[in-house]
């Protein structure tokens, strides 16, 4: 029987196991929306901005591993998705975005609400399609899901002209997808794996750097096996948080610009870096020429272009992290039956010395709320059992440093693009996928205002997302740079009018709570966690607080600025006065 494009669209999504779409309607997608009106299997979550829809689909994907789906109209609806798509692209998030398009016969005519979204998103999608004929629709959708989820994941966009969603055809749903030009390598080269095992055996100061790829490939178990078997300390990039237990004794925290002292020291001193599913972003490496100067580098990645893009690599292994880590464990076991504990003793001792010298720290105050204290309290009161999303800025870095992520898919943060406004809609998407989990967006007062309208989405869909606003009345991270490198010239970083977030929450029929003193932090969090509704927690924080350690731009990662405690500063001031 013939079906309309809209019917084929819905049936195709069902076949992909889709239960939720995030979206926003408009003229050219009316037919599809009409089908969704009484569909029993697929629910559309109406966001309040298309960017919110895409970030929500992204949060849904990151927290479940399943592709997120968004549906928007043509023109402005489509262009509003671009930031969300670019965010997903930079972090390799599987997603399929459907945009409406003007009828095929009008394409190219500058028709009302026409935008060349396929052209606009070409560089920020893994692939994209303009469907010109309804008879191609079923196959295109199946291909899109295949591409989005296979190999290195990523967003795929499908542009659907109005006449395609209205047109009729006898659909043929492909049972499987094969694309002759798209066959990512999964299995690692056995010879390289053997060499890697050999290097692991030889090395005295090895470090594992794990990235988001370990999470995408569900390889946490294998990573832990390798680390524990060979007693190798593990650092995870921002994208890799949760891939290795944050409370594990071999865990070093995050490396790079705001990484821990000991992770950066360990990398610089190491003789072997085992990098898995990470891409040596400049925020991780600092000055490339001075990065890990003594280390041989093993680089495992599903994407060959990640290898040797930024750093020299001694042992490249292209393939799926899960398979390769398992193979490496087997290879190491076969090569040797060493007493690893004994062998690693002095290396781990050296690292522990660094851990003691400069742990992650801040100066607690009784008078003013320190943002790091809020995060420690969130960790303590949730016992770490929460999905945390973040905005971008200081809030994101403190959330990365002071909360401990023991499980994959509990940390949702825009790493590659660094998108302010990501965290709140992402939390909404994650909450929808995990109705019984605590989901908290750790936010800045600047970032939360970028998608604050999504509070309506949370309220109406009864998604009890919690937002912890670290309110410093500044675009804090930028202010920090101005303080350190621009002579405290705070050009346009003061948010002179910050809305009353409690009233904002109330205006949306959500709950607003405020803490102004350190003693109020715990009661506010407890109250929020009890509340079965979306809550904005407004933590009025010390505006002067900075994120440390910090590697200045262009410096090597062991050239860190560290927290100077007040007593030390006081001593220095006195010394200066004496002189």
């Amino acid at each position: 029987m013939k079906k309309t494009g809209s019917e084929i669209f819905l049936e195709s999504l069902k076949r992909q196991g889709v239960k939720h779409i995030f979206g926003y309607p408009g003229g050219v997608v009316l037919n599809i929306f009409d089908m969704l009106y009484d569909d029993k299997n697929i629910e559309l979550i109406l966001t309040r901005h298309e960017q919110g829809a895409v970030h929500a689909a992204d949060g849904y994907a990151r927290s479940t591993g399943k592709p997120g789906v968004a549906l928007v109209t043509s023109g402005p609806g489509a262009t509003n998705t671009v930031t969300g798509i670019a965010t997903a692209s930079m972090d390799s998030i599987p997603m399929v975005v459907f945009t409406g398009q003007v009828p095929t016969m009008l394409i190219g005519n500058d028709a009302f609400q026409e935008a060349d979204i396929v052209g606009i998103t070409r560089p920020c999608t893994k692939y994209n399609y303009l469907v010109k004929d309804v008879s191609d629709l079923a196959e295109t959708i199946a291909e899109a899901f295949h591409i989005a989820t296979t190999g290195r994941p990523g967003p795929v966009l499908i542009d659907l002209p109005k006449d395609v969603s209205v047109g009729k055809v006898e659909p043929v749903y492909p049972s499987s997808v094969k694309i002759r030009s798209f066959n990512p390598t999964v299995e690692g080269n056995p010879w390289m794996i053997k060499r890697a095992a050999h290097e692991i055996e030889k090395s005295k100061k090895p470090v594992i750097i794990a990235g988001g790829g370990v999470i995408h490939s569900e390889a946490s178990k294998e990573l832990k096996q390798l680390a524990e078997l060979t007693e190798i300390p593990v650092t995870t990039t921002l994208m890799g948080l949760g891939a290795f237990p944050g409370t594990h004794k071999l865990f070093l925290g995050m490396p790079g610009m705001h990484g821990t002292y000991y992770a950066n020291k360990a990398i610089q001193a190491s003789d072997l870096l085992i990098s898995v599913g990470m891409r040596f972003d400049d925020r991780v490496t600092g000055k490339i020429a001075a990065f890990a100067p003594n280390a041989k580098i093993i680089h495992v990645d599903i994407d060959p272009t990640s290898i040797r893009k930024n750093v020299r690599v001694d042992i490249p292994i292209v393939g799926d992290a899960k398979r390769i880590l398992a193979d490496m464990v087997a290879a190491v076991k076969k090569e040797t039956k060493k007493q690893w504990g004994e062998i690693r003793k002095s290396w781990l001792k050296e690292i522990n010395k660094w851990k003691k010298q400069h742990p992650l720290e801040y100066e607690y105050s009784d008078e003013v709320i320190k943002p790091q204290f809020v995060i420690e309290k969130l960790y303590e009161l949730t016992k770490g059992n929460a999905i945390i999303s973040t905005e971008v800025g200081q809030n994101q870095m403190w959330a990365a440093q002071f909360f401990k992520y023991n499980k994959p898919r509990t940390w949702l943060s825009s790493g590659g693009l660094g998108t302010m406004g990501y965290g709140f809609p992402a939390a909404i998407g994650a909450q929808l996928a995990h109705p019984n989990k605590i989901v908290i967006d750790i936010a800045g007062d600047g970032s939360i205002q970028m998608n604050i309208q999504e509070l309506a989405t949370a309220v109406i869909n009864k998604l009890p997302v919690k937002v912890a606003i670290l309110n410093n009345r500044y675009l804090g991270m930028v202010r920090q740079w101005q303080e350190l490198f621009f002579k405290e010239r705070y050009s346009h970083t003061g948010l002179d009018v910050v809305p009353d977030f409690v009233k904002v929450a109330e205006a949306y029929s959500a709950v607003g709570l405020r803490a102004e003193k350190p003693s109020e932090v715990e009661p506010v969090i407890k109250e929020a966690l009890k509340t079965k509704a979306p809550v904005f927690m407004d933590f009025v924080c010390d505006w002067k607080e900075k994120v440390y350690p910090m590697v200045p731009a262009g410096a090597a990662i062991d050239e860190m600025l560290l927290l100077e405690k007040e007593e030390k500063k006081e001593k220095k001031r006195k010394l200066k006065a004496v002189k």
Binding site: R122, K126, I147, S181, D303, P304, T305, R308, K309
Partner: protein, 162 residues
């Protein structure tokens, strides 16, 4: 160093802009690009001339391979191959140079494919050096304009009996 990269791609709408976008988006330069159908009309071949150090060329070939519509990528530096390019040169020589233009055309095994009262249009095929040499020699004769096709290249077959 200069490399000639040959790619087989799906003959689909948008492929050219994906390839061109890859180069412009990542700051690689394209010196020339030519596209044509293959025996299988669903597949096109692209010959791209680009330059860069080994790391850049490695990235370019990997990035090309990563494009969903690219089926196969060969860096011809690694393969014995022959390559050709064509140029059409329109010259308007002074009267006393007309014979010289025709003589040079003959030496280069070219052909005059159009002529008017004042101009000759000459077709030359060859490798890059030959094309460039011809253009150099024509310059003093008065080149009005020229059009180059960009390079096409193909791997050599072994002549050893099997």
């Amino acid at each position: 160093m200069r490399h000639t990269i040959s790619c087989l791609v799906e003959n689909k709408f948008g492929v050219l802009s994906r390839v061109a976008g890859l180069f412009s988006g990542r700051g690689y330069n394209i010196e020339s690009l030519s596209v044509g159908e293959t025996l299988d009309p669903a597949i096109s071949t692209m010959t791209i001339v680009t330059s860069g150090d080994d790391q850049i060329i490695e990235q370019i070939t990997k990035q090309l391979n990563k494009l969903i519509d690219v089926i196969k990528v060969v860096d011809l530096v690694e393969v014995e191959h022959v390559e050709r390019e064509m140029v059409l040169v329109k010259v308007n020589p002074k009267k006393e140079n007309k014979a010289e233009v025709l003589r040079l055309t003959e030496i280069f095994r070219g052909r005059v494919i159009d002529s008017s009262q004042k101009t000759y249009t000459v077709e030359i095929t060859g490798d890059e050096r030959k094309i460039e040499a011809f253009i150099e020699l024509m310059k003093p004769m008065g080149i009005k304009e020229f059009m180059r096709t960009g390079k096409v290249a193909i791997a050599r077959e072994s002549i050893k009996p099997k």
